[in-house]
Symmetry: C2
Subunit: 335 residues, 2 copies
């Protein structure tokens, strides 16, 4: 495989380290896999070099987004699905996206106790990822993490996000199959509607099905989703993740998505995800070129000129873009 374009000494070092980590991760070493995911999370040169190697091996896993308003029981349902998959001898990875804000902080993966049952199980891999500092890049970072886990051979990769912000909705929508959870509602308002989540749902689940109002919430959702312009809405199912009721049926519905073409290369979500990843890579590439010491002077000059309002940011960007790409049109060849 080829090293990064315009490979510097640092590029070669990253590539060599990535090669080592990929080899051991693919051979089943979980610590190497964890390190690759850390590199992806921090968008380091190792991540880029590793993705170049791993990406062609990916594309087989079913990426399943699990999202919903806080309190809908996402973590418990993820744990129940993991249990169901393991009982059938299937492999599964979970990426819990943590939209760490200065205020909320903390991890989503609340159900650590249940998950600890799998601490020694090499066919389950659980990882929480911070969203901090990657505003806008969350979808492409999560996509890259999924590609690594996919290449590592996990059959299903679940992405758990709390559906409370635009970027979390984008992450959920980037999965092959998006499961939107809703708790039974006592009032009239269905939380998932307020959050704009139903629009991205492939499967809708009313969880905590043993509570009063579950059937009524499911009926409301069916009426709402099925009634529009005569189209079939997404299936609405009822689960009680805490007892496991309805979980096998949900897994069967998830599996049916594969037969329905959700994992085909030309599926809309796969194309959208590819586009987000290309845009993310482009942003990384440009960010990294801008950070090169050889370009520091040009960058510095541009920023000072903009700060002094001698030039507008767009003209400065054009100037930098020309410098970045160099006279022969090869990225990095300006060096």
């Amino acid at each position: 495989m080829s090293p990064p374009a315009g490979g510097s000494a640092d590029g070669w070092a990253a590539d060599s380290r990535a090669a080592e980590l990929c080899e051991t991760a693919l051979a089943g070493d979980r610590r190497s896999l964890a390190r690759l995911l850390t590199a992806v999370e921090n968008r380091t040169p190792i991540a880029e070099a590793a993705l170049r190697r791993l990406y062609p091996l990916a594309g087989k896993a079913h990426l399943v987004g699990i999202t919903g308003p806080p309190g809908a029981g996402k973590s418990t349902l993820v744990a129940a699905l993991v249990g169901e998959l393991r009982a059938a001898g299937r492999t599964v990875a979970v990426v819990a996206v943590d939209p760490s804000s200065p205020i909320t902080g903390g991890a989503i993966l609340g159900d650590r106790v249940r998950m600890q049952a799998y601490a020694g199980d090499r066919d389950v891999f659980i990882r929480s990822m911070a969203a901090r500092g990657h505003a806008g890049g969350l979808a492409s970072t999560t996509g890259a993490a999924c590609a690594v886990l996919d290449a590592a051979g996990f059959e299903i990769v679940m992405i758990e996000t709390v559906g409370t912000g635009q970027s979390e909705v984008e992450v959920a929508a980037a999965a092959d199959t998006t499961v939107v959870l809703e708790a039974p509602e006592m009032g009239d308002e269905i939380q998932a509607i307020k959050a704009g989540l139903l629009e991205v749902a492939d499967l809708v689940v009313v969880n905590k099905g043993d509570r009063p109002g579950a059937q009524r919430t499911a009926s409301q959702l069916r009426a709402m989703l099925g009634g529009r312009r005569g189209q079939h809405g997404p299936p609405v199912m009822i689960t009680t993740a805490a007892t496991g009721a309805g979980v096998p049926e949900l897994l069967a519905a998830i599996d049916r998505r594969r037969a329905e073409g959700a994992l085909d290369d030309a599926a809309a979500t796969r194309l959208a995800r590819a586009e987000a990843e290309v845009r993310g890579a482009l942003a990384d590439r440009i960010g990294r070129l801008l950070a090169e010491p050889t370009l520091a002077a040009a960058r510095e000059t541009a920023v000072r000129a903009v700060a002094a309002h001698r030039i507008d940011p767009y003209s400065a960007a054009d100037e930098l873009l020309r410098t970045l790409v160099g006279p022969d049109g090869r990225p990095g060849s300006a060096r």
Copy 2:
């Protein structure tokens, strides 16, 4: 002034429309100013063309960020500062950044009743901006909006953000002067600390100063901010925005920042803002080049190859970057 690089027919049309809007906005037409800000919010080609024209005229306004946890009384304080400025015959614009999420929605600028007093006052301009769909680009979009208002001649541009997320903190930190509000706390926890806001504060204000605990909260904040490594912390002041108490002193402290060099071209915040704006412009430029019909085929091919895992996103990005920039190193010359 020069049109956008590689100017197409569309580029010329945008430039001509921008020229018209800039001329009328600078002549005092508020509807044209509002339209320019809408263009900036949507990052249209008109915004780019307008910024090329207006940017050299900007750099004189004092950009004042007003942030703090929900309930600290930001809108009321902004209204009180506007009143104080108008009483002195000074001009002021307010940009209220609305971190519209699918869940929270709505506008921050809650104190509309107070603000309506200025409905007929041409020396006050109030605008709320949605953050929706610009994750990560919020800082550069806000920067561009401030540059437009700055060029339009407002002496002070206030940026009101609720300090509850990384991007809102970034927006606040991009101002020349960042005022962090805190309400008197009954408990032990100071909200602004949890939100990581104090780190970006140039001035700290305990608002709702007529409530019990205001003095104690101010003392706690002073002890906390002044005690670290023998450095002087930011001033901690007490205001009661609802009655106006402490507001003239706060405005005097804001004005002192200008004398202290906060508005100098080489001030750290001005350089950081310029860098964010250059990066934002670079992202816009690349996004727009990618969207060009003449490049649709290359983009489509790259995305399909990535979706099929025939190529990794980084290699696809490199390929696109070469196509984008063209053989002579001029952006857009590939056409």
